[in-house]
């Protein structure tokens, strides 16, 4: 480990600054090279990818991997991409609507049973979601949701995280806002919709992005509840792709690139929201 000096002054002497940047860059390479390698390999031909030692540049530059995954009736990767996009978007919207309404009620309204309701919701945060997979499978089976879009959109929205996260944020808003709005004759719905929600845009954006990411990346649940090639989302689809192409790495990596791009772009665009969401999750502890 490097010298633990969490200083706040910027007056690091020149030599130490060089050392700092050398460390930072070396670490950055460790995190980045695998991702870069994924892209490079996805642009190689099958033969080039089998070469030992491998070349750092895809030569010849080939669309082989992408052609394979885009024109492939056994592995309809584009379809999986669209399914994933649809599922993650709908899931994110469902979480936003249900969690913001519930969190507003729990944070700003007084009613009988509020304490118990909140305790019950927060209590489930301590139950590992993996231990509910078997009964949840039974429930979606009864609902006839297996192998449909609903099965990857809806159940995850029961997570207590969104409610907990937004409640914390709503509690931090000043009471005077509602008082002023009430004097103006606004009802609870109007206060929620016209006053609280607009003020909560950063928190809502954070929750939307985190919900999208979680849903887009979910693997354990979809591999057991989606079956038909046309219904799969990308994560279970990628598993199938690995099964059919084994060591045809340009094809497999092309699939991985396709599954990574949207979330990496989202990360670049919404970095602040993601990082803030994550750091706030730690401060509650």
């Amino acid at each position: 480990m490097t010298t633990p000096t969490p200083t706040t002054d910027g007056s690091t002497p020149g030599l130490r600054r060089v050392g700092l940047y050398a460390t930072l860059v070396a670490l950055a390479l460790i995190f980045l090279v695998p991702l870069v390698w994924m892209v490079i390999t996805s642009l190689k031909t099958y033969t080039a990818a089998q070469q030992i030692p491998p070349s750092w540049l895809p030569n010849p530059l080939a669309g082989y991997g992408y052609e394979q995954i885009l024109n492939n009736s056994a592995n309809p990767v584009l379809r999986w991409f669209l399914n994933s996009m649809l599922a993650a978007t709908l899931h994110s919207a469902l979480v936003l609507v249900t969690a913001s309404l519930a969190a507003y009620s729990l944070a700003r309204l007084r009613f009988r049973g509020r304490g118990v309701t909140f305790a019950l919701i927060v209590g489930t945060l301590f139950i590992p979601p993996t231990s509910l997979i078997i009964p949840n499978f039974l429930i979606v089976d009864q609902l006839n949701w297996i192998d449909t879009l609903a099965v990857v959109v809806v159940p995850g929205a029961a997570s207590a995280f969104g409610v907990f996260f937004l409640r914390q944020f709503f509690l931090s808003l000043p009471n005077e806002l509602e008082e002023a709005a009430t004097l103006d004759g606004a009802n609870q719905w109007q206060i929620f919709y016209k006053v609280v929600l607009p003020l909560s845009r950063p928190a809502l954006a954070t929750l939307a992005v985190l919900s999208f990411l979680t849903n887009w990346n979910d693997f354990l649940w979809p591999i057991f509840v989606l079956f038909s090639p046309d219904q799969l989302t990308l994560p279970p689809g990628l598993g199938l792709l690995q099964g059919s192409y084994v060591t045809d790495y340009p094809v497999i990596m092309a699939g991985a690139v396709l599954a990574s791009l949207p979330v990496l772009i989202l990360f670049v665009l919404a970095q602040r929201h993601i990082i803030q969401g994550v750091s706030r999750s730690g401060l509650k502890g």
């Binding site: 480990m1 490097t2 633990p4 000096t5 969490p6 910027g10 700092l20 930072l24 670490l27 995190f31 980045l32 090279v33 991702l35 390698w37 390999t41 030992i52 491998p54 519930a102 507003y104 009620s105 729990l106 309204l109 009613f111 919701i121 301590f126 590992p128 993996t130 231990s131 509910l132 078997i134 009964p135 949840n136 499978f137 429930i139 809806v154 159940p155 029961a158 004759g185 009802n187 609870q188 990346n217 693997f219 354990l220 990308l234 994560p235 990628l238 792709l241 990596m253 991985a256 990574s260 979330v263 990360f267 670049v268 990082i275 994550v278 750091s279 706030r280 730690g282 401060l283 502890g285």
Partner: protein, 321 residues
Amino acid sequence: MADVIEVGAARGDAPPPAANAARRAASAGRTRRATPYLFLAPYLVLFGVFGLLPIILGLWLSVHQWDFQLPNRPFVGFDNYKQLFSSDSAVYGDWWQSIRATAIFTVLSVPLLVVVPLGLALLLNRSFPGRTFFRAIYFAPYVLGVAVIGLLWRFLLDANLGLVNRLLGAVGLPSDTPWVTNMPWAWISLVGVTVWWTSGFNAVIYLAGLQDISPELYEAARMDGANAWQRFRNVTLPGLRPVLLFVITTTVLASANMFGQSFLITQGTPGTETRTVVWFIVEEGLRNNNAGRAAAMSIVFALLLAVVSIANFRLFRYKED
């Protein structure tokens, strides 16, 4: 909704025709009293069906012999639980093998996932140009799902074509390590990949905690002649205590719930040595149709995790005193 305001506004004014007013006031009162519940309703439906019901259903399943393909699902009392603990049952060996795999992974990965991100956070907790950029790069792998990570590292760790062995060979180290197929390499790979994948996440949590420590404390320590290590030991660590507790607890839970990495990268190999509890539960319940037994396993597993979390909490609470 609109007539709620009307009534509210009308109240202060001269009373409208009495019967009408009473009816409207009563309806407004009902609306108002119902409002909090109406706000809650959509979420509570989801929460009830997919949050609470599975808990009850799980308990119920666990005392039945439940096979998706058989019409009869008899009540079997605690048999499903007993089988997990009696060495002559068919499931005993595989079940404890999966507990063992999970325990090994947790014990090997948690210390690294607590210490490495702390190092990254300390490195990033200074003011220098490019700080946000490096933070983003260290965090980037975390936004990718386990399916991508699994495929990517299965390739990188491929004994012949993988980049890892090629790079090791290039610097004169052994270049034929069977990373994903042999012991102990399979464990090293799974732990290494997980550290690479999720360190940025814990680092960001640490960073938030570090920024909450008052700079004056460091200043005071420096005035007292404390060196870097002493400042870390006496200012940083105590200041991070609550965050550290959070990181350790959530990391233990995350590692204990590991599934995708071994499912995709080592694929359980060699044999079933790297098959974790979560994997075994879904395999037993959803592939082998023993939902009752799998439900019993889920409950034992959840209780086990609860005990570990409480122990964690206790351990760190006591240290504080």
